[in-house]
Structures are given as C-alpha cells and as structure tokens.
Symmetry: C2
Subunit: 220 residues, 2 copies
C-alpha cells in the first residue's frame, strides 16, 4: 500500500512554523484524526462490521500497529467519534437551544434533534450503539463521558433558556429531581435506539417512546 508516502509527514501545517517540541504531537494528532475520520466514513457505509480495521489503517495511512497505539479497540475508535459528535451537538444546542415553553416540549425537541443526529446516518448510528453496548472496562470512560454529556444536555433542555433564574428558584431538591428525570429519559432513549438498531421497531418508534416516557413523567 502507498502508506510509505513519507512526504505527508513534512506537511508544513497551515503556514505557521510549528514549535519544535510540538512537531511530533501534531503529527500524532493528525494521524488520530485521519484514523477517526476513516472509521466514521467506513461506518457510515457499512455499519459496525463495515469498519474493518485493516481498511481503517489503509484509508488513514497508518499501520495497523500504530492504530492500536492510539485506541484500545474498534469500539474505542467509534466511541471517540461519538464523543466528538456529541461536542458538535452541544455546540448546536448552545447556538439554538431546545425550543418550547414547557419542559416537556423542550425535552421532546431535544431528543428529536438528537435522534435525527443518530438516525441521519443509520449505519453509523448502529455502529456506535453496538460499540457502546459491547464496550469493556477500557472503553467505560468514554461511555461514561458520553452519558454525562447527554445528561447535561437533557437537564439544560428541562431547564429552558433561562438557567440562572430557574436555577435560583428551584432548590437543590429541584435540581436532583431534574437530574433523575434526565437520567431516566436518557436511558429510555438509549434503549429505544438499541431496539431500533437491532430491528425490533422502526425509526419512528424511538422518538415516540421517549416522548411517551417524558409525558408520563412531566404531564399532569
């Protein structure tokens, strides 16, 4: 394979002369990036099994052994990608928060958008879900990180656009209750996504189940 192309290493960056000590690290970051990008592209095409690590290595121009220096396993790569995607979702929600006048409406809006992010690339979504459920102790940190991110987003959606005011009004008990609701809804969302992933219900059921759970908890 053409991975021998040493020329790429000499890529002089965007124009800035890189610090001498940072040179290697920058190359390593670029390699990681290419690995993750290649894995995601393959997952979009062929799901979890479509991500053949030999292909990832070839497409990203790194050796198989190097790939394993950066990630513990195939799952690890996909979970890294998941966390990056969640960062993007956080960004999008910071710019345009979940809309709606009630917590129920906002939380539904949030999950609708988050589900679209997942189901926009069904194969990629399935691959990531499988990586989450098949993870081992090595990947637990990434999974926990993803869970925490989502939990924060759900809490934010429950709160609404006026966090300070609401936070001031609601006592600690209120916060605790919101965290519990957020965790519960997140779990329902995850399970519904897995159900869709393995084929026991259609895509539309995912958001439907989450909304049902949200109604059970929030409507009165």
């Amino acid at each position: 394979m053409g991975a021998r192309t040493r020329s790429e290493a000499a890529a002089g960056g965007a124009g800035l002369p890189e610090l001498p000590g940072a040179r290697l690290a920058a190359n390593q970051l670029r390699r990681m990036r290419r690995v993750v990008d290649a894995a995601v592209r393959l997952a979009e095409k062929g799901g979890f099994e479509g991500v053949r690590l030999r292909d990832v290595a070839e497409h990203s121009g790194v050796a198989l052994g190097t790939l394993y220096k950066y990630f513990h396993s195939k799952e690890d790569i996909l979970l890294f990608a998941l966390n990056e995607e969640l960062e993007r979702v956080e960004q999008a929600l910071a710019e345009r928060p979940a809309s709606g006048r009630t917590p129920l409406a906002r939380v539904t809006d949030f999950f609708r958008r988050a589900t679209e992010a997942f189901l926009g690339n069904p194969q990629l979504g399935r691959a990531v879900l499988r990586a989450m459920a098949g993870g081992d102790a090595e990947t637990a940190v990434r999974i926990a990180g993803a869970q925490l991110r989502v939990a924060r987003l759900v809490v934010a959606a429950l709160h609404g656009e006026t966090p300070d005011l609401a936070a001031a009004r609601e006592a600690e008990l209120g916060d605790e209750r919101e965290r519990r609701i957020a965790l519960t809804l997140q779990y329902v969302w995850f399970a519904a996504l897995v159900g869709w992933s393995v084929g026991i219900h259609p895509e539309s059921a995912v958001i439907h189940h989450v909304r049902t759970a949200a109604e059970l908890i929030l409507k009165r």
Copy 2:
C-alpha cells in the same frame, strides 16, 4: 434449519418409550439442549468471549457445523437461553407474584427479583446483554420475544394479584397507560443493566435507577 423433522411434535416424555417418528426430533432436541447448556456454562465462567463456539461444540458433543444448523450465531444461542430463563422467571412469578400494596411497590419488587436473576451470574448476564445489543436481523425475533415477555410481567406487576377485577375497572385507556409505563420501565431497566455491564456504575445502581424512574412516574 432442516425442518425435515416431520414428527417433532411427538416428543416422548421422560421415561416413556419414544414413538418411532419422534426419534430424530428427540435427538435434535437433546442436541440443542446440550448446546445451550454448554454455552450457558461457558458464559457463566467467562462471559461473552468465554463462549468459544469450538468449546461449545466440543462440550455439547456436536460438530461446529451442526451448531450452526440450529442457531444463526453466537448471539442467537445466548438469546435462546435468555428466553428460557425468562420462562423460568415467569414461572416463579406465577407461583409467587410480585408483592406490595401499591403498583410502585410491586413493580419495584419485580425488578428487584429480575435484576437478581441477571446479576446472580454477572458473567452470564453481561454475555446476554451483549448478545441483545449486538444482535442483527436474524436475532431480532428472539429479542422482541424477550421484550414482550418482560413487558407482560411488568404489566402484571403493575396490576397486582387481582387481574380480572382490575382489568374490568380500568378502561382501555388504563391498559394503554400501563403498557406505556411498563415499556418505559423496561427500557430504563435495560439501559441500566447495560450501564452496569460496561462498567460505568455498580450493580446496586441498576435497581436504584429503575426505582427512581418508577417513582417519577407512579408517585404523586
């Protein structure tokens, strides 16, 4: 699989002389049983990866190829075992229904017992969970079956020991609501089990999360 077994329905009892036509089917049933038992024994010892199909074949005395005539995949075997285990749980609950005077108490009792069944053999539980989340289209039927079984059990726990009376009192709307609650709690349970399985929270958190969700929905 080779459904050539025209006479499988006539499976002879424990000590009874088997009918001539049932002989092959009985052998096949025995093989399946040995396969499943061997897989479960290996899963109890070494979890999902502990179930090496070559070992399953050897321990159960069937050839690798035969094993694949009965089951589509490793996941398929474990999901078959799950459904058998759920039958046993159904049995236990029929004999001693979930106790408690309120739906919340009964449903909590149910999930406590069901969780114990899972966590009694942590390795086996992890293996089955991984099989559920890693399933493909072939195994969707078994997963859907398991889901349905559990859903029924949760509904029964919500209802309590007097199904006829309650069923008569509650309109269809009530039934629908109960089904929704059951599905939601089941999803929370599943997600919490996966969370325990991949190591992001301890065993005790599973029942805790389910109880929290049940309180959010049922307490007022």
